[in-house]
Subunit: 424 residues, 4 copies
């Protein structure tokens, strides 16, 4: 379904007065509101194609209905999100779930929705029906060179699809690892994975990036061959300047200080991209900002600081993507919540008085440093985020509008109740 | 496939001399070897019907072939395990995956294999195709009384199946909980769950037990309505004397001291049963003893001590069951490994010099207390476990025999390569 | 040092216009601002006497100077905090660190500062110079009845001191436990601890409460005899109606859902009190709200909901106390930050639209339930907290005023640089 | 006190027959027992000078009596340990706790006991009484270059002391980090630390190594500037070929796979040394092998495999040291237990059939790979460890002999009951 412009206009009109009142109060209080608004307008978060359907756990899956059945329907869903919030202007495809039949047509459809193609993602953590060799014991790490070759070829094919669509990055997430002590020769697993990655890297167009994602555990439960930022950094360093580490918020051991990792990788010029979600226990893939919003803010605080220190462009120099699962929510509502939470954290981070913060730090004034951060975090930046949406042509309250249009009901009517999006 | 008695005899004959040498050394050193051997012979660990097929994670499943397609084939598999190790003389069914079409015939088949029916397990964590109402938002905790009623009725039906087969316990594991802050009124969720359990409890035959299993997280990732031993204990206490807590080793927060929980529950007469597996990160469901064998020993140390303190019969007064998943192993081999690891831990616990241990404790002699436990743990009890198997009519080395018979190949020939056991 | 009323008046006068502007915006938007302001005025958080000095770790301690050397100086410090924020109107003493020489004089001094005496705390986790028997191997759990007797007598003496000062509760935090597997007979440790607590309970005045605090680990690193809420609940239930569980935010295993524990204990009428702090790894004792402010809000959300459900008085029916350590901050500044963070979380929890929340829950509208909570959390409630302070006679910005008065410099001048507060 | 040779001889004589019986059984079963015995004889574990006294926690310290008061007494204690087990032939000093007054005399004393000086350790995590500037806010990371300079000079002084004694390595463990979000500019903290380390590295003799130890948390509770192996690896790589990572078993986040880290660092030629201890929750500093003996074995399995792959000498090419704290045990007994647990794990790792293991791995035979490791781990190697001790001139059962000599009583008589070893 499409969002009609009159629907958007009506919605915004109804809320405009209240919005302006709140905004006025806000812009009174904050000096550089305009700068922040512009940065928010520029900041786009890619939606992964697999996040448009109901997720599941190993214990079951409870579908929600109206899920997209094709790549076109997935683009339509992201297009709808983007029309609502003007901050979801990119889609990240997953091969083989989203192989475009006609790349040109797909590009045109995307352009129609104002979407570009973000990083493409390979899949060597599942066996496909027509696949010659199994990934049961790994892919790029596999003891059998034929399996490694198959996985390498798959990645190269993913790059080809990405090139056809205008993507500029390949994300390699490997489930490779082991479930039991003894199963793996860690050294050989590392070397084989590195060699496989080198073959993939060699096939990378010169204006592409390779993102090496790491994960502490799951689906392997004893070791992961790219298990932490240190390992990913090692691979990326050995691969070359086009290789980077990708950080997924849910892929760490309990209590990890992710913001410090982010700062270190930025400093070393090896941070490539980000997968947003939230979690309490493991890779829970919950809505961004739903569990630890302060951590999300602290991460953005490091991102802003570290990118500014290198003169990087916030909007374009890192890959921003949501990677979540929606087991009990309407996926589109969940994504609207995630994007808003990310925007709020970003706006708060932009609000931090960095000069004062550095002064406090240089004076070892811990109390003041905390006050400066919390002052930004405690500020209600929702009016300014709404203003950015409004100026960009989106809705003041995307979720409210989405619901008032009864979107899900329409999607179910169009697509059926028992649809399952390709993917997990 | 069946284990022929000559195969067993040949196997044992070939290994007998070496075994006797090791055993002699052992029985020389240990005073009460006979007592331990007898206890090992008596100790049976139930095999859950769902552990006979390859497991999976939310990311994929890599089947192994030859998996049982029917309840009869599942019983045949457990029968084979039991013929090999004489320690798997019970099967635990899961409804609706294992609904017996003819209870009498099923009982006869089980008897043929020397198996009894352990606790039956209900399932309200998945929707079945023909199910009227969904468990997406919980079952016994559900806001809608009709869903609760459906879940209650299902549990009562499970009891009926269990009665027909001679089971004496119902295990209720609930995935009920919430994924996001705000989703649940904890108080109401507790009360509704309690009321639902009371209805189930009321349907319990007088010689049955109700096991209330707890789990810290997954598949709900913010809260679990029966989330820790304290909660399970509360439910079990309010339900009555037939209700008990069931401990699954993988269902705890990081670093939990499970052996202390076991001791406390035994002391309070509320420990009902055990699910064995091992894990490093969460509910990883790995082979028992494969990650933390010392923890397994320490748990058995408390079990032996606590049961003896109450005059309980090790073999019959608690429910012992494996609950694991086999993603990269032949399920039957995995189960043979698990059972052996459990027997080793049990034998080591029986070996502990309890008089000396209590003396050391009363003297605050921490060094000596540790020495006493580690002396038992460092002892190689495999000869005595093998002897118990031998006397009970099993194989000296079950795994070796299983492999030498090329069992899996035969099962694949009989059942096919692409079979999927009912279940997860 | 004292806060002069003109200093307070000057401070408030200078900030008043800006404050009124913010508040007006706020009270425009929120219907029941007055109700919340009144509740904030009533809500007092006790300051523990040991939080007034610089803390330390086992690796070292870096004193900050001007620390209180006597009980009178401690009361002066709390008095100053209370003069600044009008929310710290209680002090929690620790025996033997704070034995009053003249209870009447001490009460008068406290009254002068507007302070009452909150729960008194016993100490059996350290040996005192003149102590007959050592607590090296525990106190209330000790194998030697003479040690247990000594610890019981100490607790009874603490009650006597509390009675003399007008306290109404005893907090028993036990470091009892074990460092090594084998060291402790868990069952006996539990029974001995229970018997000891029963003796203490018997000495409790009829209008007193006994708080049984639990802690997952540290200073014992294998087991803690009161290690989780389940254990504490067991003790409190067996003791009787005057015994309650006390929750310290830092005393849990990683990832524990503390808000659910709070809800459960309130439901069972066994929640007695609260120790506020924050932490990332263990019992880090950081400033409240400095690491996980959303968790603090979620806890208050359950507190408000659970107390309202029982008709409890927020201000008086639970014990509220800060329990933190200030290794790198001025302790008084840290406490001002903690109190403000607690007030903010409380105000946000009061802001939650409970009717709408229950509706969303009963409709399984997870998205909306989250929106309702986050709407409250994202609201900038600082103006209303400041207004409550102002009306109660405190400072609009306590920390700003504290700093502008150069308080620490004055305290160092008065008390010296190398002072060490009695305590840790 | 000294161990008289007749005492040793008597002890061994009494146990010899039983030992020979066990050993014979063992050497019958194991082909290359001689090779393992020789490796055990060569393998020496350094004792840190601070491990000879009772440790403590931030909550208290319960001294045990007879603790060494001087460097000479510390060497005497290690000498006694070494005389008992012939595996503790090195001591690791901590400056400023152990500044030798006369290096030559100290070397002679050490030689008398058969001890060499292992890595020297600097201390910038505490302030010393005579110190000009405070480390409250860090040392090598400090914002003030004068503090950094002081810390650098201290490290260089430690090297000088080490040179005088014949040490060949400096271990730098930094408590530097932050307790609160905002406190630290992570980037600057890293750069300053790196620059400081470069100055220290420049002062390193050409045959020395610099060990960069990492730790996840404590005593800083928000960030540690050398917080994980990835960070340490970065520092060591930037410093140069003499810089290495040092792994302390207790310095990781929950559930970390330490053996994989070890394998990776060995592969990258950046593993320098090891601190042995055990833990359940954090840096609990418990006796090696007392909590997770299987993990200790798995680590040694990687050490043996990785060192062999590089042709390294097990005994000399890595630094082996115990780093534990003895809160409830006699420190010398604890150290005897730790050394034995380490030897057992090492012997078991030497027992692993590496050819078969690699075959199983290359065949993806997970079950067999686990069997091979567990076969080694389940083997009772104590007779062979005792034999190695015997041949090296030590006691068959060091702890038994230590106790039978009533050593602690004698030490208390010599040194007094209330002594406190310099250090923590």
């Amino acid at each position: 379904m499409n969002l009609e412009s009159f629907q958007l206009a009506d919605h915004n009109q109804r809320l405009l007065d209240a919005h302006r009142r709140k905004l006025a109060y806000w812009t009174d209080a904050v000096a550089d509101a305009e700068r922040i608004i512009q940065k928010l307008i520029d900041f786009q978060i890619a939606i992964p194609s697999w996040a448009l359907g109901t997720g599941g756990t190993r214990f079951g899956r409870f579908g929600g209905g109206g899920e997209p059945r094709t790549l076109d329907e997935k683009m339509a869903d992201v297009g709808l999100l983007h029309a609502l919030n003007r901050a979801s202007g990119a889609i990240s495809l997953h091969i083989p779930w989203d192989i475009p039949q006609d790349a040109d047509a797909t590009r045109q459809t995307a352009a129609h929705y104002g979407l570009r193609f973000d990083a493409v993602n390979s899949n060597t953590f599942q066996d496909q029906p027509d696949q010659a060799l199994s990934y049961k014991f790994g892919s790029l790490q596999h003891v059998d060179p034929a399996v490694r070759r198959q996985a390498i070829e798959h990645n190269i094919e993913v790059i080809r699809h990405g090139v056809a669509l205008g993507s500029k990055a390949l994300t390699v997430w490997l489930s490779d690892g082991s479930c039991f002590p003894g199963q793996l020769n860690f050294r050989k697993a590392f070397s084989r994975t590195l060699e496989s990655l080198q073959d993939i890297y060699a096939a990378l167009p010169s204006d592409w990036k390779l993102f090496v994602e790491y994960k502490a555990f799951e689906p392997n439960f004893y070791s992961m061959t790219v298990g932490d930022w240190g390992s990913s950094f090692l691979y990326a360093s050995k691969l070359g300047p086009q290789a980077y580490t990708l950080v997924d918020l849910g892929h760490h051991l309990p209590n990890a200080n992710i913001e410090q990792i982010v700062a270190t990788l930025l400093m070393e010029e090896k941070l490539g991209g980000f997968h947003f979600n939230d979690s309490k226990y493991g890779d829970d893939d919950l809505t961004a900002g739903s569990i630890k919003p302060y951590q999300l803010f602290l991460i953005f605080n490091e991102l802003v600081d570290g990118m500014d220190a290198r003169g990087m462009n916030h909007a374009t120099d890192l890959g921003w993507m949501i990677d979540a699962s929606h087991n009990v929510k309407d996926p589109l509502e969940d994504l609207l919540q995630s994007v808003e939470a990310i925007q709020i954290a970003y706006a708060q981070a932009l609000l931090v008085d960095r000069t004062a913060l550095e002064e406090a730090r240089e004076a070892n004034d811990v109390v003041r440093a905390q006050e400066i951060l919390q002052d930004a975090f405690r500020t209600d930046v929702r009016p300014i985020v709404a203003e950015a949406r409004l100026r960009a042509g989106g809705a003041l309250q995307p979720l409210t509008l989405y619901r008032s249009l009864d979107t899900r009901t329409q999607l179910i009517r169009e697509r059926g109740l028992k649809t399952v999006a390709t993917g997990l």
